[in-house]
């Protein structure tokens, strides 16, 4: 594998590239999950890796998510760096006890004697016309847990760089992949093994009038909204939060201090969502800079509808533009 290789890849292909790079450079990295070896994963994120690294490092597990999450904990205590795949985020809940009660606590519980450099990968979010339980965005459940990092890429380049960072991080990372944009765009990614920083927001577009704060698949609609707003003469700054926990509050507060307005966009339900934590942080840290209340554009506090109505649930470009018009008017 040449370190100078540059490829035009989709987000899911970038995930595959990052896994292949790190497995080639660190023999402690192993993959486990359902249908990931011979089949290459239901989204093909691990395709070809069994051929490169063998069944010993790319493991098809029995169909038991709790087992996958807990086996990764045991592996990690032996110095392996497991990357465990949950087929869909809707099936991660069986593994939550292991993630919350063990992976997130092992370092603290043993005073650093054992730790869990695990990446729990899961495709999440709606918009692909999937069956029930295949479309939710429940990142806030994990963001609430001390000892976990929750990372969400929103482009092929960030998927590559952030996944490398997540695997190299000595602590557990829940890495949520927005499957709606798995293949939405291709981007040129240099396969050079360079990681991007965790616990850091990415400012995707600079602006002066309003800060649009988002992550995951909604980054796409938010950038489109920023284009529309520019046509109306509104200059929007767009921030991809990327690490929804721990939060890079400094970047968010600096931006709001500059623009005086914030709109938070996420696909997950509003109630108790990560947007609420961000809004509270802005109220605590940048209240006097605000020229308008913080507004959220989110999914509804309902069960994610089946796919005939899923687009009605997801935030749209129009919703974002409307919210910005509302805060600009104030």
């Amino acid at each position: 594998m040449s370190s100078a290789e540059v490829r035009d890849v989709t987000l899911v292909e970038a995930v595959n590239m990052a896994l292949a790079w790190e497995m080639a450079h660190d023999e402690n990295v192993v993959l486990l999950g359902e249908d990931i070896a011979t089949n290459g994963g239901v989204f093909r994120a691990t395709v070809g890796l069994k051929e490169l690294f063998g069944f010993k490092r790319v493991m098809d597990t029995p169909l038991a998510e709790n087992l996958i999450a807990g086996t990764a904990v045991g592996m990690a205590t032996q110095g392996l760096k497991p990357v465990a795949e949950f087929q869909f985020m809707g099936f991660i809940y069986a593994g939550m006890e292991q993630i919350v009660s063990h992976a997130a606590r092992m370092r603290n519980r043993t005073r650093g004697r054992l730790h869990c450099p695990i990446v729990y990968r899961a495709p999440f979010g709606g918009g692909i016309h999937a069956p029930e339980h295949h479309s939710e965005s429940t990142e806030a459940l994990f963001a609430h847990i001390p000892g976990l990092r929750v990372v969400i890429p929103s482009s092929p380049q960030r998927a590559y760089g952030l996944l490398l960072a997540a695997i190299r991080d000595p602590d557990p990372v829940v890495f949520l992949e927005p499957k709606r944009i798995y293949r939405a765009v291709t981007q040129s990614v240099e396969n050079n093994g360079e990681a991007l920083p965790l616990d850091t927001c990415f400012t995707l577009r600079e602006g002066d009038d309003v800060t649009l704060i988002t992550w995951g698949a909604c980054v796409m609609e938010t950038l489109q909204a920023a284009d529309k707003l520019a046509e109306q003469g509104v200059s929007a700054e767009v921030i991809d939060v990327a690490s929804v926990s721990p939060l890079d509050r400094e970047t968010l507060l600096c931006s709001v201090a500059k623009t005086g307005r914030a709109v938070i966009i996420h696909e997950a339900c509003r109630n108790g969502g990560v947007g609420a934590e961000i809004a509270a942080s802005i109220a605590e840290g940048a209240f006097l800079d605000l020229q308008a209340p913080v507004v959220r554009v989110t999914g509804y506090d309902t069960i994610m509808p089946y796919y005939r109505n899923e687009m009605a649930y997801l935030p749209t470009v129009g919703d974002i533009v409307e919210a910005v018009e509302q805060v600009i008017a104030l």
Binding site: G70, T71, G74, Q78, E97, R111, L114, P170
Partner: protein, 358 residues
């Protein structure tokens, strides 16, 4: 109809309730030094246990789970595991921890509300005590997978209670051990009680050991108060695991002689008569009788051992009571290897709030 498969679960018992051999003893009985060391560890464990309960009753220790009735099993685990093997405990394995090298002080610290109680310097690869029932079974197969991936000749012993075998964690883990041929020995400590729920309504299966068969593993039942049957089964299971022949489920049948924890009152759900009967099977007394009959033990030796154990425990208690709590900032310091920026302010607040707490 044709019978397709035939399965069996073996069981062993060598000493009767009074320590009299029922049959020829296994080869392990020839190692008198190891047998005497086992007895000493059982007595030390029981002495420690009584003291820990007394500390809790006097407000000097938190909620504590008594190990009464488990001393034989834990001791055999500690003796059979090689130093390079990995022990994956539940929370009533004091006898095994002592032999693995976790100190009495560390055990008191853990139940006394101090995270340093799991820092175990002498057994750095053993998993810490797992409170959520049976969750440790998944860790055990993870450790076993790491051993298999690296082609090492090491093995794992994982403890779980009879109640824990009702959980998916246990069933999923024995299933993986069978499917992946992992060197993991599951030690089911069937003490008849999951807090107040008796073994009889935990499962409709006649034995717990037979659950192994559904996972493609051998299952074996031992009398958990008969040192020789427990140590023989464990030695054999570990020899098998070290040789790459896969895992096993051993069901060690005993009786929880104490309350579930110091926060429980077992008189609410079980009779004094049942408890009295269980005490008649006590494994420590049984081994003492055996050693006495074999000319290896006498009242003077017993007296000296009791005094020695008491002294060892007292010394540990003194050190435990003299150990100051960690500074409150420790709650932040061990969360991540690299302290996230977002936690810095919270750490500073803690440090300022508890002056000198740095």
């Amino acid at each position: 109809m044709k019978q397709r498969f035939e399965f069996h679960v073996d069981s062993t018992r060598y000493l009767d309730d009074h320590g009299k051999p029922l049959d020829d003893l296994p080869a392990q009985a020839e190692d008198t030094e190891r047998t005497l060391a086992a007895y000493r560890n059982m007595v030390l464990t029981r002495t420690f246990d009584a003291k820990a309960i007394a500390l809790q009753r006097t407000g000097k220790c938190g909620t504590y789970p008594s190990v009464l009735g488990h001393e034989v099993i834990g001791t055999a685990i500690g003796q059979s595991l090689a130093k390079t093997d990995v022990f994956v405990p539940y929370y009533r394995d004091q006898a095994a921890h002592i032999l693995r090298g976790a100190s009495l002080v560390e055990m008191l610290l853990y139940w006394g509300g101090d995270e340093r109680g799991s820092a175990w310097k002498n057994c750095p690869e053993d998993l810490p005590i797992a409170v959520p029932i049976a969750t440790q079974c998944c860790h055990a197969v993870g450790v076993g997978s790491a051993i298999r991936i690296r082609g090492e000749e090491r093995a794992v012993v994982c403890c779980v209670g009879d109640g824990g075998t009702s959980k998916g964690d246990f069933l999923e883990s024995i299933n993986l051990a069978g499917a992946w041929h992992l060197p993991v020995v599951f030690m089911v400590i069937n003490n008849q009680w999951a807090i107040s729920t008796p073994r009889g309504i935990q499962t409709g299966a006649e034995t717990i050991a037979q659950k192994a068969i559904s996972a493609g593993l051998p299952g074996h039942i031992v009398d958990g108060n008969d040192y020789f049957s427990v140590i023989e089964a464990l030695d054999a299971a570990l020899e098998r695991a070290h040789a790459g022949k896969g895992g096993m489920v051993i069901e060690a049948v005993t009786y929880r002689l104490g309350d579930h924890t110091t926060a429980d009152d077992a008189t609410r759900y079980r009779s004094a008569e049942d408890l009295k009967k269980a005490w008649e099977k006590d494994g420590i007394k049984r081994l003492q009788n055996y050693l006495h009959d074999a000319g290896l033990w006498d009242p003077d030796k017993e007296k000296a051992l009791q005094a020695e154990c008491k002294q060892t425990v007292e010394k540990a208690v003194e050190e435990y009571l003299a150990t100051e709590a960690e500074p409150p900032t420790a709650m932040v310091d061990y969360l991540f290897e690299n302290l996230p920026v977002s936690l810095r302010a919270q750490r500073e607040r803690l440090a300022a709030k508890y002056r000198g707490g740095e």
